[in-house]
């Protein structure tokens, strides 16, 4: 009898997303993956924390939107930010651009992450942070809630501050097409 065929670690969707079987994805109906995104094992995505609105009101039901060629490493967490506004608490949608790398064990609660952003491992991106395009965030950085990081920055420290500018050619180094092909 031939040995039982082992299942691959990743499930590949029609649009080329590679999602690990060991990832924890909650509320998948509220998550949009742009395609060619890799989600590694143990990665947690909280799509169930969507906007809460009064009954009868129309709510956009997207909690997390991720662009193309993103890479979510092992044990990373994506979680929409929440706050109390006009006496009601609600979570707000989180948007992530293309070619975004999230390192191992990082927790992301940003409102917006642009394209070509590299978040190294063990970072914490605070609630409602906005990170523009072409940003590199170094290992162990803690970005405070509501921070806005401009384009072409190198960010480090606790709290994370811009310590240097990236060169205009940085975008090439931040492309993730090659990593996608490796998986």
């Amino acid at each position: 009898m031939p040995p039982k065929q082992t299942k691959g670690e990743y499930i590949e969707t029609d649009t080329g997303n590679k999602v690990s079987r060991k990832s924890v994805i909650l509320g998948s109906q509220n998550i949009i993956l742009g395609g060619k995104t890799v989600i590694q094992a143990d990665c947690t995505i909280r799509g169930d924390l969507r906007r809460t609105v009064a009954p009868g009101q129309h709510s956009g039901n997207v909690a997390i939107a991720v662009g193309r060629y993103c890479f979510l490493s092992r044990s990373s967490v994506l979680r929409p930010p929440g706050r109390t506004h006009q006496k009601t608490f609600s979570y707000y949608p989180m948007k992530i651009g293309d070619h975004v790398f999230v390192g191992e064990g990082s927790v992301v609660e940003a409102a917006l992450i642009g394209s070509y952003v590299h978040i190294a491992k063990d970072c914490v991106i605070g609630k409602f942070a906005i990170i523009k395009d072409c940003v590199r965030i170094e290992e162990g950085t803690v970005i405070a809630p509501n921070t806005v990081i401009p384009s072409f920055s190198l960010v480090s420290g606790r709290p994370g501050v811009v310590i240097d500018e990236l060169p205009e050619t940085a975008q090439e180094g931040l492309e993730l097409k090659n990593i996608y092909r490796m998986i």
């Binding site: 924890v24 947690t44 169930d48 967490v77 109390t84 927790v107 162990g140 709290p159």
Partner: protein, 169 residues
């Protein structure tokens, strides 16, 4: 990757005392042998791990325990998390005062990735931030924050499907 061998400890179902108004996700993990007590209006997110293998766990009222947190008392004296505590994502709690990653009854706030060492006692209203800096919060906004927390719990009540019966015994 080969599957990790399951420890026998993880299978034991601990005795639980759960208040009726709690919200606990089905995929939360309550394991161990000592009792776990959870107060009213507390929210346990999916994949939170409460391990009472070495001592009992007591969680107060109006707490939020987020996903991927690990709460495990180191000895038989157990661990108490006071009322109104938020334990944020990825926090590891072994101390007895309810030092989570956010606010506790004594009204402390621990920033992300900060560490409190073994045997340390943190006074009320302390804020630990950055790489270990500390200050005393004298703003007196405790009541306001408590109200925000109650609203937060109300909205989580809608979002998180609760299944306390799974953990009852």
């Amino acid at each position: 990757m080969p599957p990790k061998p399951r420890t026998s400890e993880a299978v034991t179902k601990p005795p639980t005392i759960l208040a009726s108004s709690i919200v606990i996700a089905e995929t939360a993990a309550l394991t161990g042998t000592f009792p776990i007590k959870i107060g009213a209006n507390t929210v346990i997110h999916p994949r939170a791990k409460l391990t009472s293998a070495h001592g009992p766990i007591t969680i107060g009222e109006y707490c939020i325990i987020c996903e991927r947190t690990q709460i495990s008392p180191p000895d038989a004296e157990g661990l108490v998390i006071g009322d109104g505590t938020v334990v944020e994502v990825n926090a590891l709690v072994e101390g007895s005062v309810g030092a989570g990653s956010v606010v506790e009854v004594g009204n402390c706030k621990l920033g992300p990735l900060t560490k409190v060492l073994e045997g340390e006692v943190i006074e009320d209203n302390t804020v630990i931030f950055g790489s270990g800096q500390r200050r005393i919060d004298a703003s007196g906004t405790m009541d306001a924050r408590r109200r925000l927390l109650e609203r937060h719990i109300e909205s989580l009540r809608i979002l998180i499907p609760s299944n306390p019966s799974k953990f009852m015994n």
